[in-house]
Amino acid sequence: MIKTITLHTTELDYEDKAVGELLAQLEQGGGLLKNTVGIISCHYEFVLSDIFKAACEALPFEIVGTITSAQSVPGEIDTLLMTIMVLTSDDVEFDTIVTDPLMSGNPGQVISDNYKSSCRAEKPALILTFAPFIAQNCGDEYVNAVTEASGGAPCFGTLAIDDTLDFVNCFMLADKEHHNDKMAMILIYGAVSPKFYVANISESRIFGKGANITKSAGSLLMELNGRHVKEYFDEISMTDAAEQQYAMSSLPFLVDFNDGSPKVSRIFVMFVDGGYALCAAAMPQGGTMYIAKTDGADVLLTAGNAIDEITEDIAGKSALLVYTCISRAMALGGNQLGELELLDKKIGGKIPFMVGNSGGEICPTMVSGEKAINRFHNNAFVACMF
């Protein structure tokens, strides 16, 4: 069984004060058990101000996580906030792995090699994954590598995101350092039965008919219905919308892999050379793409539905970890903390939780036999409760 303690501080100037607050909360939480790990979500300012480093040095357990633009723990929601979810247990064990740099050109191989050299013989019950935002890598590569290396263990996690949307300070945090090129994993072994929740876009927001992805290369969308993707966008008069910076906040896609698994959401990043559409995740050739229109109302609706489901399943669970895509926060306009506030309101004190914004979400969509169908998501609200 896992005991969860959530820590937080807003102190950015005085390290002692910040550390004091964290330690006091830890003590308040009833102390630690045999095996402990901490998951951190914090604003980049905490790294800049060395509060992160001070906290890592003061707290007696491994801390792994990501930079986020906003985060929350029960009763605390803010952008300039550092939150740590402490998982401690006598029977559940936690191993952490930090990979080698992923800029080599074959990140999947790096992840796989690092995993296999560090993992135990048994399959973990859950793998929590934290990665920096690396523009040239596609998150699907990470997910596929972990899935393959672990033999289909369920994988849940996030890509870092900063609040400037310039994607320059999107660091992974581990080993008391911030990294822009390495991935960290927490492998959880023991009697843990995680449950996963994914919310993205309401079906009613899909417009037009689905288009067959007739040609793609990873996250590069090349042809739809046999026609050049730019031509397709022109015909549906969506080129202007797509060419807007941050079109992702209003022009998400739903993609059906046509393999029986639920649809996953994607966002469009930009048109690149050749007029092809670069997306933030893999666009599977042979799949079907649906263009949707999202807005704040739908963000809150879909998140609220997911939170309601979580609430129904809470009994007997120890922790709730949630990541929600930055594009959803942008769609909320001036109410960028709306989802976090909604969750805090609905969950309240029912279960310790931590929520952070994300630059890309990792969460299984279904389990097939003994294996999880792990997917990389965009524009999604993903939750893991165990």
């Binding site: 950015l12 309401s202 919308a241 941050y246 906040s249």
Partner: protein, 802 residues
């Protein structure tokens, strides 16, 4: 200043102030840092909101543009779609429609009918029954999701001129993805599509009317032309029945008969082509006897050879099936066309008909090849062979009979039978046409070697055989017929053709008179009823007779080759059908079937007399042949009489002498065309082989008398032989005139040519010379074939000098 000079308490104060200042500075620095941080945060927040807002605006703008484009396209579709398309909701209220519907309704704006129920709008546009049908269709579509189609006339603009529509009603609906659970998840209705087929219907009606008009015209023209031609041919046939007619008179009658038949052939060709073009020509397959078909075709076409020096060869394979299933009539038409062409375009040499077969997929493929040594066809003309109205070598053939439709019709008939026709030709040397036709197999034996040989022995050298029908008319004085025809000439022809039968013949000129006779209790063995008569036609007359209870035989006579086939006449109460001009064989068959066979006892009584009945026309064998026959027949008569006499005194058990004589006479009679008597000879020969004394002695007297009568009959023709022997031909004069004829023909000077021929006619010539001169005259008179006439004159002159 030195620290020792500063008092301690003042130093302490300064240090404390300094410390405070430093703390303040640090605090300010922290505050500044915080402010900067806050500003950064706010800036970033504002930036995010701005960018998100811009993206959202762009998206909404794009969406608006896209929706506007869709709306424009939708409007274009609704305004320009030529068909009436209406969208009704589930309650049947108007939701949307194309402009075409507005135009049809003469309504300026859809708003006038929007939300109205369809029944309110359509009530006055459809008839009551169609409106009721529309209601039913609507319900079916809404409740059961069916697609309902029907036709209806509708007068949407109440002009009094309804238009014809093909109407379809079908379900229409889409699922809405609405996150608001209070609103409907789907929208549905009924789509009504109406296609205006008025113009199409009008065109169809016009086309049908034109087609009917054409058919009626052809039927009428066919009747109007065939009727007088039928009369002419009938009268000619009657005249040709008369005995002891002068040679030139018979020749002239034959020419008239041939010309008349030619005209009938032309009309038939035109009618056939019309039927083919309109798809009305149908094959009527029956089981037929293959050797009979070959025999009939050969018989008919040998007659065409006339006096041309053409050898006709028939080569039929012994393995040919004896019976097949197909359209015998059309097959004969094909063969007649090919053979007639071969004979027409061959001046001398041979025409050969080969008949073979092979099996393909269970069907019999009959293969006929007609080869000739005629003028041939130039390579450039061969491509146009089967084109309608195409004829070649116009200068040489300009008077050759024919419309140029024959091969085109042949090709179409062959194609209808699933066959192929091929032509090979070498200009100046000859042609070969091969037709391969699919026929259905019938369980039967092959024709066999003997029959094939018999058919093959049918090898003739043209020597002026005239057209003629060899049938034996049996006396039927016990029979009574009524002929009903509004054309007196036709009555005359019918009477003339039936008079040799000694039947009682009554005639009336309309159906009313025929009915009157029946009412008076008159019963006829056959009523011959003309089809097309004014006031009351043959069909109506027959129906009235049947309604009256008249059960006697009624046979239709019709010149109308378009309408009417046997089925139609049978349906209308007729027992048979004879086409006009009256075919003597059909007439003979009808009289035999409905009179002779119905009175077997009387028929038997008159059978002996029937044996005396002379054929309609004796074949004109050459005088030399007849002379040979006469000598043989005289010998046979003597032999038979001698044996009969002997038997009176001493029973003659050995009948072999009879058998020999009968055998000899059988062949001799067949050679000169006396088939009926030859048949009797065959029966007697068979009896001889079976040693059936009784049969022989019962019939030998009759046979001998018949032979004697035949000898007497043939004597005038035979005497021409002795005439020939006594003639001294002026060969020099002949050569001189032939050269003149040749020169005149080369110059296309028919006057000079005829003048020379007339001069030659004033002198006596042998039969052979006369026939050759007659042939040259025919070439000019009938065919205007100057080239061939010149060639024939030249050749004859050369032969004469030799």
């Amino acid at each position: 200043m030195d620290d020792a000079l500063i008092p301690e308490d003042i130093n302490g104060k300064l240090l404390e102030e300094n410390r405070k200042l430093l703390e303040e500075v640090e605090e300010l620095r922290r505050e500044a840092k915080k402010c900067a941080r806050e500003m950064r945060l706010q800036s970033s927040f504002l930036s995010k909101i701005t960018k998100a807002s811009e993206a959202k605006d762009a998206f909404n703008s794009s969406l608006l543009k896209a929706n506007e484009k869709q709306r424009v396209y939708m409007d274009m579709l609704l305004q320009n779609c030529p068909n009436i398309i209406i969208l009704l909701n589930d309650e049947g209220r108007f939701v949307l429609s194309t402009e075409a519907f507005m135009s049809a309704m003469n309504t300026p704006n859809f708003d006038y009918i929007k939300n109205l129920r369809y029944s309110e709008v359509f009530q006055k546009c459809f008839t009551d029954d169609r409106m009721a049908y529309f209601d039913t269709a609507f319900d079916r579509v809404v409740k059961s999701n069916e697609v309902v189609r029907f036709d209806a006339q509708a007068d949407f603009n109440r002009s009094g001129t309804p238009r014809f529509y093909s109407i379809e009603l079908r379900r229409a609906g889409i699922e809405l993805h609405n996150h608001n659970k209070d609103e409907d998840d789907s929208v549905s209705g009924v789509l009504v599509v109406m296609i205006d087929l008025t113009e199409v219907m009008l065109e169809k009606q016009n086309a049908e009317a034109a087609n009917n008009a054409k058919s009626t015209f052809l039927a009428t023209m066919s009747h109007e032309i065939r009727t007088p031609i039928g009369a002419i041919l009938g009268i000619v046939q009657i005249e040709m029945l008369k005995e002891n007619l002068p040679e030139e008179y018979i020749s002239a009658l034959e020419k008239i008969y041939r010309s008349g038949n030619g005209l009938i052939g032309i009309i038939n060709d035109i009618l056939d082509m019309s039927k083919i073009e309109t798809g009305k020509l149908e094959l009527v397959p029956i089981e037929y006897d293959v050797p009979s078909l070959i025999n009939d075709v050969v018989q008919l076409n040998i007659a065409r050879i006339s006096s041309k020096p053409i050898k006709f060869i028939l080569d039929a394979d012994a393995k040919l099936p004896s019976t097949l299933y197909g359209d015998e009539l059309r097959l004969k038409q094909i063969l007649n066309n090919l053979l007639s062409n071969a004979i027409k375009y061959t001046a001398a040499g041979h025409v050969k008909l080969s008949v073979r077969h092979f099996v393909q997929d269970g069907d019999i493929m009959l293969s006929f090849t007609v080869e000739d040594t005629g003028q041939g066809i130039k390579p450039e003309d061969q491509k146009k062979l089967f084109t309608e109205y195409t004829r070649f070598n116009h200068t040489a053939n300009r008077a050759t009979e024919g419309t140029g439709l024959g091969l085109s019709i042949t090709k179409n008939l062959v194609a209808m039978m699933g066959g192929l026709i091929e032509a090979k030709s070498e200009y100046g040397k000859g042609s070969a046409f091969t037709v391969t036709i699919k026929q259905q197999a019938v369980e039967c034996e092959p024709i066999g070697e003997e029959l094939a040989k018999k058919l093959g022995n049918f090898t003739f050298t043209g020597s002026g055989q005239a057209a003629g029908v060899k049938i034996v008319r049996e006396f039927m004085p016990y029979g009574k017929v009524l002929v009903v025809d509004d054309v007196e000439a036709n009555l005359y022809v019918a009477e003339g053709l039936m008079s040799p039968y000694k039947i009682k013949i009554e005639t009336v000129t309309d159906g009313f008179a025929a009915i009157e006779r029946a009412e008076q209790g008159e019963v006829y063995d056959i009523i011959f009823m003309d089809h097309m008569m004014p006031r009351m036609d043959g069909i109506e007359t027959t129906q009235k007779l049947r309604d009256m209870g008249y059960n006697g035989t009624i046979v239709a006579l019709t010149a109308n080759a378009l309408a009417g086939n046997d089925e139609m006449f049978m349906r209308n109460g007729f027992d048979g059908f004879i086409s006009k001009p009256i075919d003597i064989r059909q007439l003979n068959d009808a009289l035999n079937k409905f009179i002779r066979d119905m009175h077997p006892e009387e028929a038997e009584k008159y059978k002996a007399t029937a044996a005396e009945a002379t054929p309609v026309q004796t074949p004109k064998a050459s005088p030399k042949l007849l002379e040979i026959f006469r000598r043989d027949a005289e010998k046979a008569v003597a032999a038979l009489r001698k044996t009969v006499m002997e038997d009176k005194f001493r029973r003659v058990n050995d009948v072999s002498s009879f058998t020999t004589t009968f055998h000899a006479m059988k062949s001799a009679l067949a050679v000169i065309g006396e088939d009926e008597i030859s048949k009797l000879a065959f029966e007697l020969e068979k009896a001889g082989n079976n040693k059936d004394r009784s049969f022989i002695f019962s019939n030998v007297e009759n046979f001998t008398n018949t032979l004697e009568n035949l000898i007497i009959k043939l004597t005038p023709e035979i005497s021409a032989v002795s005439d020939d022997e006594s003639i001294q031909e002026d060969t020099a004069y002949l050569s001189e005139q032939l050269k003149i004829i040749q020169a005149a023909c080369d110059e296309y000077d028919d006057e000079a040519a005829y003048a020379a021929l007339d001069r030659l006619q004033e002198k006596k010539w042998s039969t052979e010379t006369a026939a050759a001169l007659e042939n040259i005259r025919d070439m000019l008179f009938l065919h205007s074939d100057f080239e061939e006439a010149a060639k024939a004159a030249k050749q004859f002159a050369v032969n004469n000098e030799q």
